[in-house]
Symmetry: C2
Subunit: 564 residues, 2 copies
């Protein structure tokens, strides 16, 4: 696909973002971006997209307790719908993590050959930086630490906001950290109560090192340790982040080994890491490591490599600073560098994932092991959504003779949620020759030859997704757009009759599906593309075998955004 | 696909394998299996397949220096073309690792409810076991250690052969190792010169532990250490193996960082491990860890997870005992448990990979790192092959206007080899909007709508493979048969003009393609299925962009097996 860059620039101007060779006036853009752009047929409804232009990594995520507003910044190229320099921090805010308002550019690079690359924001309540006085409420003392990428290298810059994160002043003595490297980026900062220091993790990308620095004032940083050569290495490390994640014991879990020593722990430290390219599934992905942190050094509990999201489109996850109750809430870029420049959207390109509440829970991947695993739960404020149509089915035996079909085409706008719990009786399988699937076909309302297929296959013990059934040229012609995925999933719980039960929840928003399996021990976030305005709304359940699958609970809702 | 088991059993009898409920007479089967079966249109020519029935993991690989014969055993169900009990060790031998002769069942389980599960063979030259006398040449003192799987658990058995590996006697005092576990299997044994002990690695599968035992006599084993919780864990660990792998310094490599401390090392120890299910790409895969071994404990150099083969169909790799010159030669099962029971072959199911010579070499995945990586080179004895047709092209500039087509349809039997070296001038790309591919289409001779597409895309820095373009029902209907793969590949070398050069070698044998990228720093082994007798023989080279790709060297050969 060839996009006319001139047309793009004209559109950018129309909605208030100035083109590449203009000087950007941040304050005037801030409100101008709040425009009527956003009702295009393909644009996700509850996932953050830029009004125009290109978006990648989430940056500077924080929660403003003064106003109860969530702020998200992001890598932003307002001048084109692919990545390019100069690169900015775009800014959006939300009261409910579903309805997002874009505010245009928040942070800009020093010149047009540079990029204001990824970084984070902290709330400097105690004014350790000296950037603030009493005119700024403690909960709005916003300091951004980010990477200034120039033609000679990458160094860390500070900027601060006196208006709650809508506009920024640049620290006069930038950089705050420079080690004369071209591959040194993505600072993520948090306050460590126990040692009363700021902690910064960032990537020495091509050396496969996560460096840990400490500071008392956000300006002067001291190297404490390196966490290196963990995980699948790929080409490079990006966007590391360390978080104190609560361990949840009193929630449903599939634990089969009870004599474990996990029950006394109320939190563990988790190091998040992004790899691109080099994911085994192709391109970009996120890994995590569970361990301990003493204020200087992160020590992983083991040498295992764990994956945050097994889908194709989940990268550069960052957690929010100052989330209420100490919750750890993550947001990721929902695309993949293997094909992000070519996905079939024009005005904007890319969205974020839904925000997710992250916890650790005991989990049994097999009968002999119980270990902590990351659980992700999507944060959806249902008070902001209307249910246009819904169906619920319990106790349904699947047979090979019959396809069960539900039409939820009323007011189909492409926002759909489903949850499914199923029981498997593999002893009813006549032989290992049988492809023993439970398949859910989610078909387009306008053209039911276009569909997503997902489901479970007994012999593979895997949940699968096929996003390849579309008329869209990009889907059919781009060989890097992996269409079929299969994820091993553990047993969610065992029924009274001894048979295993599994569970999945899915949220579909126009061109993105997020799957949360077994309460989120495995997630899979994937873009998909159908023909324009062919929204999913027909649901079919089928199986190739008899008497194997019992649907315990199946709910589907056709949702919409409430008028505000 | 539903296979008639009765038909299967009849066929099995016809070629000398008795059906499930018969008692197996190993000695009479040994020669009876050397039959005329094997000329079916879909059967690979130079990859080992069972004459009839089901095959999975390679077992007991060894080289007989007395006769210069390579022996391969394998998990074998002669009574059906899917996995099932009783499970046997099948046996095949080869003088050239290309022409294989099947010898039927070599080791059987104790009863029909059991399985003779995976294990290994050592040559007990010094008769440490006491199983031999002088009537057996030292190089043929064959001892097998394997897992007897019964209804109550998994324990390790010994058997020995007095006729060079064609028939086996079972040790009277089996098991040689039993820890009262149901998940304890796949012993791989080797002689450790430095400590003059036998070393056995096996998997405590569901505890994610590789246990290391030592013995003086192959009968009495002492636990020395556990190597645990490394790599992607998946559901379980299987088929571990430890090998002393030579480090090669004087071969071409892409090393960009010269001040590394790798140059003095002449070998490292490598731990191989198989995971199923749970590969990020879906289902089954092989990992490896580089480190040191002191005779009791394996210590990995780092906590990185490295992948032996990035394709979908490479599992349970084992190395040959007693390979000449201390070479480390691996062979893997070329399928994936996610769909292996459903692939469209009837008489037999599954093949092995080609044998590969394994070395470690300094490798630069990016400009700032040099580290050791596993290199794989396929072992192909060209004296056993005829070249029916070939083409070679040097210095070819790809343009978007022109598709370069070569027809190598003469005597197309489905055996094809190609090698390709290309240079990338990404500065010639007009914008990041362009899908910047070099694509090789390998099309069927009988029906050119069926094809494999593979190639390189500049923005992804990835080599891709698409095996989805087929009329075969299995390919189109099985959602776990991932059709598109993308692998990050590093620069192979830099040209005099400063531009990066990449390289791939591919061997295609009817329904399997093995890719060796940059001399084998990354390999990708994948099954593919076209309509019957539609062998690949038309080669097209194309690109979506101009002036970016220069083909430095492109060779394709249509090969055949010489008549013996």
């Amino acid at each position: 696909m060839k996009l006319l860059t001139t047309g793009m620039a004209a559109l950018a101007v129309a909605v208030g973002v100035k083109a590449y060779n203009s000087s950007l006036d941040i304050s005037s853009n801030a409100t101008a971006m709040n425009s009527s752009v956003g009702n295009e047929p393909g644009r996700p409804l509850i996932h953050l997209t830029p009004n125009v232009g290109w978006m990648n990594d989430p940056n500077g995520l924080f929660y403003d307790e003064e106003t109860s507003v969530w702020h998200t910044y992001y890598q932003f190229n307002p001048n084109d719908n692919v990545w390019g320099l100069p690169l900015y921090w775009g800014h959006a805010s939300s009261k409910d993590l579903i309805n997002w308002e874009n505010h245009g550019v928040a942070i800009e690079p020093e010149n047009d050959k540079n990029g204001a690359f990824s970084g984070s924001i902290v709330v400097d309540r105690n004014n350790t930086s000296g950037f603030f006085d009493n005119s700024t409420a403690p909960g709005q003392r916003i300091v951004a630490l980010y990477t200034e990428q120039s033609t000679v290298g990458e160094s860390q810059y500070a900027a601060y906001s006196l208006d709650g994160g809508y506009s920024f002043q640049y620290y006069e003595q930038n950089p705050v950290l420079d080690i004369n490297s071209t591959q040194f980026r993505d600072p993520k900062v948090f306050w460590h109560d126990e040692t009363e220091r700021w902690i910064m993790t960032l990537a020495l990308s091509q050396e496969y090192k996560i460096q840990i620095y400490t500071s008392e004032n956000l300006k002067s940083w001291e190297l404490q340790s390196n966490f290196s050569h963990h995980g699948i290495l790929g080409y490079q490390y990006e966007c590391p982040g360390l978080a104190k994640v609560p361990v949840v014991h009193d929630s449903p879990s599939n634990v089969t080994v009870s004599n474990n020593n996990l029950t006394t722990v109320d939190h563990k430290w988790v190091m998040f890491l992004s790899i691109n390219p080099g994911a085994p599934m192709g391109g970009s992905f996120n890994e995590y490591f569970i361990g301990d942190f003493d204020g200087k050094t992160f020590t992983a509990d083991d040498a295992a490599t764990r994956v945050v999201d097994m889908g194709k489109d989940f990268y550069a996850m960052q957690t929010f600073s100052d989330a209420p109750n100490g919750d750890v809430i993550g947001l990721a870029w929902a695309s993949n560098w293997d094909y992000s420049a070519y996905v079939p959207t024009e005005v904007w390109r890319s969205s974020m994932s839904l925000a997710r509440n992250l916890t650790l829970r005991p989990n049994s991947p097999n009968p002999e092991t119980t270990q902590l695993a990351l659980y992700s739960e999507p944060l959806i404020d249902y008070s902001a959504l209307s249910t246009n149509q819904s169906m619920r089915k319990t106790s349904l035996e699947l047979s090979s003779e019959e396809t069960v079909t539900y039409r939820l085409a009323k007011a189909a706008e492409g926002l759909l949620e489903f949850s499914l719990e199923w029981k498997v009786n593999s002893s009813a399988l006549p032989s290992k020759h049988e492809f023993a699937d439970m398949s859910i076909y989610l078909r387009g309302v306008e053209d039911d030859d276009e569909y997503l297929r997902l489901g479970y296959e007994v012999n593979a013990a895997a949940f699968f997704l096929d996003r390849g059934n579309s008329e869209e040229d990009f889907v059919n012609s781009n060989p890097l757009f992996t269409t079929r995925l299969a994820h091993f999933i553990e047993i969610f719980r065992v029924a009274e009759d001894g048979l295993p039960i599994y569970k999945v929840r899915g949220i579909i928003d126009r061109n993105i599906i997020e799957l949360f399996i077994n309460d989120g021990s495995l997630t899979s976030t994937n873009l998909f593309f159908l023909s324009e305005e062919n929204y999913l709304g027909i649901v079919e359940l089928s199986s190739n075998v008899d008497d194997v699958f019992t649907i315990l609970n199946f709910e589907v809702k056709q949702l919409g955004l409430k008028d505000e």
